[in-house]
Amino acid sequence: MKIKVLYFARIKEAVNYSTEEVDLPNQVTTITALKNWLALRGEVWANLFDGKQLVRAAINHTLVDDLATIQANDEVAFFPPVTGG
């Protein structure tokens, strides 16, 4: 299924992407599975999702945890803990 993935702040700078459209394999249906699949892209991606830094995820503008389910046409975002205010 096709989804949109967005990256923000230091994660955007690390992966050098702000937005991309990806076509997920059938077995990639959760945030955890998406992280593991993206980690296969290379060292930068593997380091990002190795669990040593906090990476927050949102689906369609709502904060979610790693077990959340992804559906076709979702907008998934990865970003560091927020620091506004």
């Binding site: 230091r10 949102a58 503008h61 709502t62 970003f79 803990p81 927020v82 620091t83 506004g84 205010g85």
Partner: protein, 150 residues
């Protein structure tokens, strides 16, 4: 209940007067203004740049306002958060809450700020003499949330 995310500065006096003059049943106006400080983690800050997640920011802030209105007997609220490039002494954020009695407005205003700090997708990058760096989230902000758990 309004949310504004904008590059422009805001006029606190104008906004607070507008909120309170909307109804003579308002007895209390509590507000928070956040200002850019000149020093963070021991380094002088010459510039602060605010990035956000357009769309999610607005819906996150509206959800926080709605939750505050569910929890306390408040009459209205306003959140203004700035974006882009700021300097020390610049205003970053305004949260204002009006209610009949003060206790409700105090709690709702602090609640909104605490949740904004941990839930709204803004990120700060500081410019110091050593270059640029992303600001790390603070443990104290995560702890502040715990006082509001039901």
């Amino acid at each position: 209940m309004a949310v504004l995310v904008q590059i422009e500065d805001f006029d606190v006096g104008f906004q607070l007067n507008k909120l309170r003059l909307a109804s003579p049943s308002i007895g209390a106006v509590v507000s928070f203004v956040g200002q850019v400080r000149d020093i963070n983690d021991g380094d002088s800050i010459s510039k602060l740049t605010l990035e956000h997640y357009p769309g999610m920011t607005e819906s996150a802030l509206k959800a926080i306002e709605a939750e505050a209105k569910l929890r306390w007997d408040i009459l209205d609220s306003l959140i203004i958060h700035r974006l882009g490039s700021l300097q020390p002494l610049d205003q970053i954020v305004l949260v204002a809450v009006v209610s009949a009695h003060r206790g409700e407005a105090f709690k709702a205003c602090e609640f909104i700020m605490d949740f904004l700090k941990t839930q709204a997708p803004f990120w700060k990058k500081e410019t110091t003499a050593h270059g640029e760096r992303w600001v790390d989230a603070k443990l104290s902000d995560d702890l502040a949330i715990k006082q509001w758990q039901k």
